[in-house]
């Protein structure tokens, strides 16, 4: 055990108050965090740190496990509260100043030892703050990943147009991961709603390349295997041209220019007609 640990242990109260005032000037975010909470966190971290550094000066050692665990919680709560990773790191880094002050007061007589001890203490605190930043960014990445998954779910709604008629309006670029979700949710919806017809509408798909077309064909074939008819609608003129230029064969697939056309066809095939109730002589609308 080197000297700085002893100094920290001896001056715990002084360091804590110095640390708190340091934070109050440099990194304080009163809008995000109250005084009592920050005091609690600082007290707890200093206690854990002092305890751990009595037995080891290696952050990776078992002695620091509880300190690291605590920093993880701190990082998570701060990320949730809206702190930046830098501000979270400064929470640990602002401990340096009071620790160095305490060391300076304790080792006034021996400058060379003072430098060694400052270096050792600084090193340890740097590692801890780096750990905090890593944790903070890790949590943010987890959030991003979760949101990506949620977006994937949100972007593939299967809507029921009529008894036995489903529509799947696709919006945004289709990639392999997304088409997989599209395929699965459509097929599951077909089973759940017992639908005979599914309409895939690609009005919101900006580009169709061979890969996207192949994914669509696969989805339509899978739906057919399950016993449902699948129409493709919302093909814009530009996309029709692209499809022909790319040599994609859609002859086995029923395509329509507009969703309404596909819906009319679906109604017709399931033996339904739309009748106008206004006007003198209501006639069945020709579908």
């Amino acid at each position: 055990m080197s000297a700085f640990q002893q100094v920290i242990k001896a001056n715990e109260t002084a360091i804590l108050s110095g640390w708190l005032s340091e934070m109050a000037t440099s990194t304080r975010r009163t809008d995000l965090m109250g005084d009592t909470e920050i005091r609690q966190q600082a007290t707890e971290l200093l206690r854990l740190f002092t305890e751990a550094s009595q037995t080891s000066s290696d952050v990776q050692s078992a002695a620091f496990a509880s300190t690291k665990e605590f920093l993880k919680d701190v990082a998570k709560s701060r990320m949730d509260q809206g702190f930046t990773p830098a501000e979270t790191a400064l929470f640990v880094l602002s401990m340096k100043q009071p620790v160095f002050n305490a060391l300076r007061d304790a080792m006034k007589s021996n400058p060379s030892e003072l430098v060694t001890e400052i270096w050792a203490a600084g090193n340890l605190l740097d590692k801890l703050s780096m750990l905090t930043v890593t944790n903070a960014i890790g949590f943010r990445e987890l959030t991003i990943q979760r949101q990506q998954e949620e977006m994937l779910e949100l972007s593939t709604p299967v809507v029921k147009l009529w008894d036995g008629i489903l529509a799947l309006p696709l919006i945004g670029t289709l990639d392999s991961a997304r088409t997989q979700v599209v395929m699965e949710s459509l097929l599951t919806a077909i089973v759940d709603t017992n639908s005979q017809v599914a309409i895939i509408d690609i009005t919101g798909v900006p580009t169709v390349d061979t890969l996207v077309a192949q994914h669509l064909i696969k989805t339509i074939t899978a739906a057919r295997l399950m016993g449902a008819d699948c129409y493709l609608s919302g093909i814009r003129p530009a996309i029709a041209q692209t499809i022909v230029h790319l040599g994609i064969d859609l002859t086995d697939i029923q395509t329509k220019a507009k969703l309404s056309d596909a819906f009319a066809l679906a109604l017709q095939r399931s033996g339904k007609t739309v009748v106008s109730t206004k006007g003198s002589a209501p006639k069945p609308k020709e579908l």
């Binding site: 395929m183 699965e184 097929l187 599951t188 077909i190 089973v191 017992n194 639908s195 005979q196 017809v197 696969k218 074939t221 899978a222 739906a223 057919r224 295997l225 399950m226 016993g227 449902a228 008819d229 086995d252 029923q254 095939r269 399931s270």
Partner: protein, 131 residues
């Protein structure tokens, strides 16, 4: 189970696959089914695979073969109740089973077979996409 039971319902044969198919079982089903079609002069075959959760290319090919053989013996095959996972697997394997009619459940499948038998042998130029 040694063999998959084949039930005769009127002019049709009804096969429900309720166990995981292994190759031998598939082969014996193929043999049994063709001999039963010939024996009863059946016009339709309905295969329900709603309990089938795993398929491989062999089972896929076997299903296509059964449909083709039935066609030769003048019987229409309808495959019903395919699970989404099975459909995805077959498509990924590149087996679209073009000659086979499909339906969501046995009820619809029976309806389809009935329509087919009422119409009599239909000309082959239809694109096979009718509901």
């Amino acid at each position: 189970m040694d063999r998959i039971p084949i039930l005769k319902v009127g002019d049709c044969l009804l096969v429900t696959i309720q166990v995981d198919m292994h190759d031998e079982l598939a082969m014996s089903l193929q043999e049994d089914l063709t001999s039963q079609i010939a024996r009863y002069g059946s016009r339709g075959v309905l295969i329900d695979i709603s309990s089938l959760e795993i398929v491989d290319s062999f089972i896929g090919r076997m299903l296509a073969n059964i449909a083709a053989m039935s066609r030769v013996l003048d019987a229409q095959t309808v495959l019903t109740g395919m699970q989404p996972a099975v459909a995805i697997t077959l498509v990924e394997l590149g087996m679209a089973l073009p000659g086979i009619k499909t339906a969501l459940n046995v009820e619809r499948g029976m309806q389809l077979l009935q329509e087919y038998m009422d119409e009599g042998p239909e000309p082959e130029e239809t694109d096979g996409s009718e509901a």
